[in-house]
């Protein structure tokens, strides 16, 4: 398991937090960098404990991993951006805030709390001493999650080497790691971002992703600067980084969903296995090439569940080979290859065909395939069959029986596309009967079944 991709909520400043989390999860991110702010889980709010619990539940339901960011602009002082900081004359407010953030982070189950040093208005030695003392105060408070010190252009610690020096001076405390913004590397570091990643190595607790040009501290979308995204991500894999790498575009909130979608596309393209890119090109040039490429997918792109923490078997969100096969199918000009890919496929290939079916797929091809999968007793196939195509084209009777079969086989209803839209009174009746039968037999009723019934009554 390597690192996971996330998005920073400071890039969704015009969204309610709970909406932002849903949009981010829907786009395929598996984590968020949560900037505590006056409208996003305010650490000074009256109900912060209850609100933290609600956010934790929301993150859990969406399968999102989280890190806590503390770069809010006017949270501590409504008149002065980012003020006060650890290098300010009065750092108490900042220390208090960071410790509150660490408590919230621990309650959220976050990986870490990120912080920066601050812009200094005193001489270098004084600023350094204040900073070192301030960080020591944070660590002396025995935080339950690690802190990640982020080098920030223009601040007392703006290069990775300064962050590493501070850490050395403090005696290399275990609870002090490094947060690295790869765009900052482009802007101010002497080396490229990939080199910085290797330099930080196992001290990395948090990574922020964005593009920049040298000498300008402006967070840009991928491709708009000079960052070598593919090499940077490869370096993260190389150093064995397993934390969160979240897109950091705080000035793009006005178009957040589009920017987040484009960012994910760029990240996926940068992480694409070269074999898959070439295979797609071959299928586009000659549809029949899919016949020999399709069975080979797992050997080239792996077979791990895409979201292992929330879906260990890949029944709901699929596996790496499922998604790669769906992409090969998307490269086909029409659906004519699909019946034989399915008929002669092993279980993984059959699943790949099912996950490749889109609402736009020819129903005369797709419906018999979905019907066959729903006749099997293989939960992997049944789960993959109940995707967007089934929602669009299966007749209502067959679709309801598909949902019931999922419940029957212990498949999470997250595998069923558009369940909330399509659930009707007849489905509720069937599920109620199923629950009654289970209860009469003294057997447990799946949580998904009771949830569905509760929504039906609401």
């Amino acid at each position: 398991m390597t690192f996971e991709l996330g998005y920073g909520t400071n890039g969704f400043a015009n969204h309610r937090l709970h909406d932002a989390l849903a949009v981010i999860a829907d786009l395929g991110y598996t984590g968020v960098a949560l900037t505590l702010d006056h409208h996003h889980l305010d650490p000074y709010g009256p109900n912060v404990a209850a609100e933290t619990e609600r956010v934790a539940a929301r993150l859990d339901a969406l399968g999102l991993r989280v890190v806590v960011e503390t770069g809010a602009r006017y949270l501590l002082d409504p008149t002065r951006k980012h003020h006060p900081t650890l290098v300010s004359d009065d750092q108490d407010t900042r220390v208090d805030f960071l410790l509150r953030a660490a408590d919230i982070a621990a309650d959220l189950g976050a990986d870490c709390v990120s912080f920066w040093s601050g812009v200094s208005d005193v001489d270098e030695a004084t600023a350094w001493k204040r900073l070192r003392d301030g960080v020591a105060r944070l660590l002396d408070a025995c935080p339950r999650v690690p802190f990640g010190l982020e080098p920030e252009p223009g601040m007392a610690v703006q290069h990775l080497t300064e962050a590493l020096t501070l850490r050395t001076e403090l005696g290399e405390p275990e609870m002090l790691g490094i947060t690295l913004d790869v765009g900052h590397c482009v802007a101010v570091e002497p080396d490229d971002a990939a080199t910085c990643v290797r330099q930080a190595g196992e001290l990395l607790v948090n990574v922020q992703l964005d593009d920049m040009v040298h000498g300008v501290h402006e967070h840009l979308e991928f491709g708009a600067g000079t960052l070598d995204l593919a090499a940077t991500l490869a370096a993260l894999t190389e150093v064995g980084y397993t934390g969160l790498a979240a897109v950091e575009l705080p000035r793009h909130s006005h178009a957040a969903p589009d920017v987040a979608r484009r960012s994910m596309a760029a990240l996926r393209a940068a992480m694409d296995p070269p074999w898959l890119v070439e295979a797609e090109a071959r299928v586009r040039a000659d549809a029949a090439a899919i016949r020999s490429l399709f069975p080979a997918v797992g050997r080239h792109v792996g077979r791990d569940a895409v979201r292992p923490r929330v879906d260990a078997r890949g029944w709901v969100h699929g596996t790496a080979d499922d998604l790669a096969r769906a992409r090969l199918i998307a490269a086909l000009p029409d659906a004519s290859e699909l019946p034989d890919l399915y008929r002669y496929g092993d279980d993984a290939e059959k699943r790949g065909v099912l996950r490749g079916l889109r609402p736009s797929t020819d129903p005369s091809v797709g419906v018999p395939i979905v019907q066959d999968a729903l006749r099997t007793n293989d939960p992997r196939l049944v789960a993959a069959a109940m995707g967007p195509f089934a929602a669009a084209h299966l007749d209502r009777h067959a679709w309801r029986h598909g949902v019931l079969k999922c419940l029957f086989m212990g498949i999470p209803l997250g595998a069923v596309s558009r369940l909330d839209d399509l659930a009707d009174a007849e489905l509720a009746r069937m599920v109620a009967d199923f629950a009654a039968e289970r209860q009469a037999a003294g057997r447990a009723v799946p949580v998904d079944a009771t949830d569905l019934l509760r929504k039906a009554r609401a």
């Binding site: 016949r291 020999s292 490429l293 399709f294 069975p295 080979a296 797992g298 050997r299 034989d340 008929r343 002669y344 092993d346 279980d347 993984a348 290939e349 099997t376 007793n377 293989d378």
Partner: protein, 287 residues
């Protein structure tokens, strides 16, 4: 002692066999596609058989702690039946699949023109899919059939180290050794080879490129002949390391050329309650 049986037809065997094999040290095997004792009458029958080899049988073996791989081909006997030969067009679908580690069994049964055509075509497929080939030698007229087999292999362009010529005996081993191909020996209760003759061949020809299999199928045969040969080797003065080479490392090296061997231990290993298309094999899931 760890054993890799490089040729055994598990679809014809019982779960008792799987249990006995695991207990004796068998941890991996290759099941070549062959005929079923009763002739098939259509290509569709092959498709179902191949589906079982890549799916159901692999699952069944895994329930007993054994890694199952297979080879895919139209066998020489049924290559003579025009109702079966259309399966040649289906083979590319299966040769790319996970767990398919060679093209086979191909070769000769009665040495007919139809067998010539199927054999040559399938060696081409082995070249195309970068797979080894498992070549069956005929039970009748074996010596001349083996010579002809080696000539066809040479013409195919498939490197000899990617070919195993199987069911050899004292009469045919020398020529195959000289060809550079791997040498396969099927140890049977009465026919083909027995353990002691096998040991004598190993003493004379060495252990390089030697594969020993049980070739157990639906006929009278013994899935533990690999283990029994290993014991006979030890009894005749071969070392543990010689035994490991012939009964594990050699098959791993040969079929490993496919890039598709999976040999890590099955999780556990204790019988798991997994199911294949709803069937558990274990009847009660071992719970």
């Amino acid at each position: 002692m760890r054993i890799f049986d490089p040729h055994i037809h598990m679809t014809s065997r019982t779960t008792d066999d799987y249990e006995a094999m695991y207990a004796a040290g068998v941890r991996a095997l290759v099941e070549p596609a062959f005929w079923l004792g009763q002739p098939r009458t259509s290509a569709a029958s092959f498709a179902d058989y191949f589906d079982a080899l890549i799916g159901w049988e692999r699952f069944r073996a895994a329930q007993f702690g054994i890694r199952h791989h297979c080879t895919i081909a139209l066998n020489p006997k049924e290559a003579n039946d025009p109702r079966c030969t259309p399966v040649l067009d289906l083979l590319p679908r299966y040769l790319g699949k996970d767990g398919v580690v060679a093209v086979g069994e191909v070769g000769y049964d009665s040495m007919t023109p139809e067998e010539d055509a199927a054999f040559a075509r399938q060696l081409e497929l082995a070249v195309e899919f970068e797979l080894p080939a498992l070549v069956h030698t005929p039970h009748r007229d074996k010596a001349s059939g083996t010579s002809r087999t080696l000539a066809v292999v040479r013409e195919s362009g498939l490197p000899p180290e990617r070919v195993v010529v199987d069911h050899l005996n004292e009469v045919t081993v020398r020529e195959v050794k000289d060809s550079g191909c791997w040498m396969g020996f099927s140890i049977y209760p009465d026919t083909k080879m027995d353990e002691d003759r096998m040991v004598a061949i190993l003493q004379e020809y060495g252990t390089d490129r030697m594969l020993v299999n049980s070739a157990a199928d639906w006929g009278r045969s013994d899935p533990l002949k690999t283990v029994k040969t290993a014991r006979a080797m030890l009894a005749s003065g071969f070392t543990e390391s010689d035994v490991d080479k012939v009964l594990w490392q050699n098959p791993v090296e040969f079929y490993g050329q496919s890039g598709r061997l999976v040999l890590d231990d099955l999780p556990g290993f204790s019988p798991s309650p997994e199911t294949f298309s709803g069937n558990s094999v274990l009847r009660g899931g071992g719970q």
